[in-house]
């Protein structure tokens, strides 16, 4: 419900004019006189009158300018990664118009941020696919060639067999690493076999590499997710597990998927050392939040019941994504 009011200029003028009028009327109709030099009682009356005038003036001006203060506070706090913050437009004066314009500006900024974020992530994914292909096709082929050459040399020079065996083992380890990095960069399992299989592979590899025990709980069926939403879930799970390995000092991590309210919920909870207060969000955590936002998801990073950290991501199922216009 909006109220039509006088413009701000006239309201401030009216406040001051009213006060001055009241003072003038009081001076005219009251028996107060001010002598020179001023008497103590007269000085007291003047000071009291002044204080009352200032208090009333401050109260009325505060009412007039209060919304501007709230607007300034909101401007300082606004975070485009947490959309939906708006101010109520309570009146049709200059302040109301500024608030409405600010709300429209937030609409536009959130839309533009979403568009640019989507383009950046698409470019990032394309670059990852390119690097993964180069690693697999170029570096992998070269290493395979080196391995074959080492085999030939080992047959031709049996006296160096021990040294060559060590070299071959090193090349095989390098090949495994190239395949692992390539798979992390381009989750082919996600494309071909879906989210549950991709997360199963991811958590299996994570458990092997990090020595952290992984418990999985994936249901037999889940609501359908759009490909870009599946990718966001996969990447956020990947980043969460990376954080567990790097920072959590955890011995166990639980990864679950469950159907929600026309949505799918991912949980990654560890039993590590957790964080004090609230986590400082930069780099990886900001990137996770951005990915969640771009697919209309909700991401919470909070203390886990086991004492570590829990990442909870809820993403909309396909029909909801389409309704939101996420492409």
């Amino acid at each position: 419900m909006t109220r039509t009011r006088l413009p701000l200029y006239w309201r401030v003028f009216a406040v001051n004019a009213s006060l001055l009028t009241v003072i003038a009327v009081l001076l005219i109709v009251s028996p107060v006189t001010i002598s020179f030099p001023i008497a103590l009682t007269e000085a007291i009356i003047v000071v009291i009158g002044l204080l009352v005038t200032l208090a009333v003036n401050a109260f009325l001006l505060r009412r007039a300018f209060g919304p501007l203060g709230r607007l300034a506070q909101r401007m300082e706090m606004v975070d485009l990664l947490r959309p939906g913050q708006r101010l109520r437009v309570l009146r049709h004066d200059e302040v109301g118009r500024v608030v409405a314009a600010f709300n429209r500006m937030l609409d536009r900024l959130e839309r533009e941020r979403q568009e640019s974020g989507r383009r950046v992530l698409a470019a990032q994914e394309a670059e990852r696919v390119g690097i993964a292909r180069d690693l697999h096709d170029e570096v992998g082929q070269v290493l395979t060639g080196v391995l074959l050459q080492l085999n030939s040399i080992a047959e031709a020079a049996p006296e160096h067999r021990d040294d060559l065996d060590q070299a071959r083992q090193a090349v095989r380890r390098a090949l495994d690493e190239v395949r692992r990095i390539s798979s992390e960069l381009r989750p082919e399992m996600l494309e071909h076999l879906g989210l549950v299989s991709a997360l199963t592979e991811l958590t299996t590899t994570f458990a092997r590499v990090s020595n952290v025990q992984v418990e999985r709980d994936f249901p037999a069926s889940l609501p359908t997710l759009a490909p870009e939403v599946e990718l966001a879930v996969y990447r956020i799970a990947q980043e969460s597990l990376t954080n567990v390995a790097r920072h959590a000092h955890a011995s166990r991590v639980l990864v679950t998927l469950e159907p929600g309210n026309k949505s799918v919920v991912l949980r990654v909870a560890d039993d590590g050392r957790g964080f004090a207060g609230a986590p400082v969000e930069h780099g990886g955590l900001r990137s996770m939040r951005e990915r969640a936002l771009l697919v209309g998801g909700a991401l919470a990073i909070k203390p886990a019941p086991e004492g570590g950290v829990e990442v909870r991501l809820e993403v909309p199922a396909t029909e909801v994504v389409q309704a939101l216009g996420v492409s």
Partner: protein, 147 residues
């Protein structure tokens, strides 16, 4: 799970009404229940150590939530969130993070001094697009009301 209901918990009698309603509704409708406690900015910082004061305040907030969850019989199913800062902004933020479908808050506190304080439900209206449900005050004794 059919959705998420978030209860704003302040420790006041009015927020207790919200928790009672939230616990009841979430059970009847099969909703996930999240209890959120937002502490206002820290007034006192121990020996200038903001981090330690923050941890202590967070610990006390978590204890309050655990105690209230136990009193309302939802200790085993309620998820708990504690945050320090501007309450309405933080509650809006938690509601977004938890994909809350509705936020339950207590009614405006009684008493002339409390009436002067800004209403949490009004503040939340500008912080979040999530609908806010105001729990009606339950009947309580005059002594309880005064405290």
């Amino acid at each position: 799970m059919r959705g998420t209901l978030m209860c704003a918990v302040t420790g006041s009698a009015e927020s207790d009404d919200a928790l009672a309603l939230g616990a009841d509704l979430s059970e009847r409708l099969g909703l996930r229940l999240v209890l959120a406690h937002a502490l206002d900015e820290l007034d006192e910082v121990d020996d200038g150590d903001y981090g330690a004061s923050l941890m202590e305040a967070t610990r006390q907030g978590a204890e309050l939530l655990a105690q209230l969850a136990h009193e309302h019989g939802v200790a085993d199913r309620a998820e708990k969130r504690v945050a320090v800062g501007e309450p309405a902004a933080l509650l809006g933020q938690i509601a977004a993070e938890e994909a809350a479908d509705v936020i339950v808050v207590g009614a405006r506190a009684r008493g002339w001094r409390k009436r002067l304080e800004s209403n949490l439900a009004d503040q939340l209206e500008t912080e979040t697009p999530v609908p806010v449900l105001i729990a009606p005050p339950r009947r309580r004794s005059a002594r309880e009301t005064r405290s």
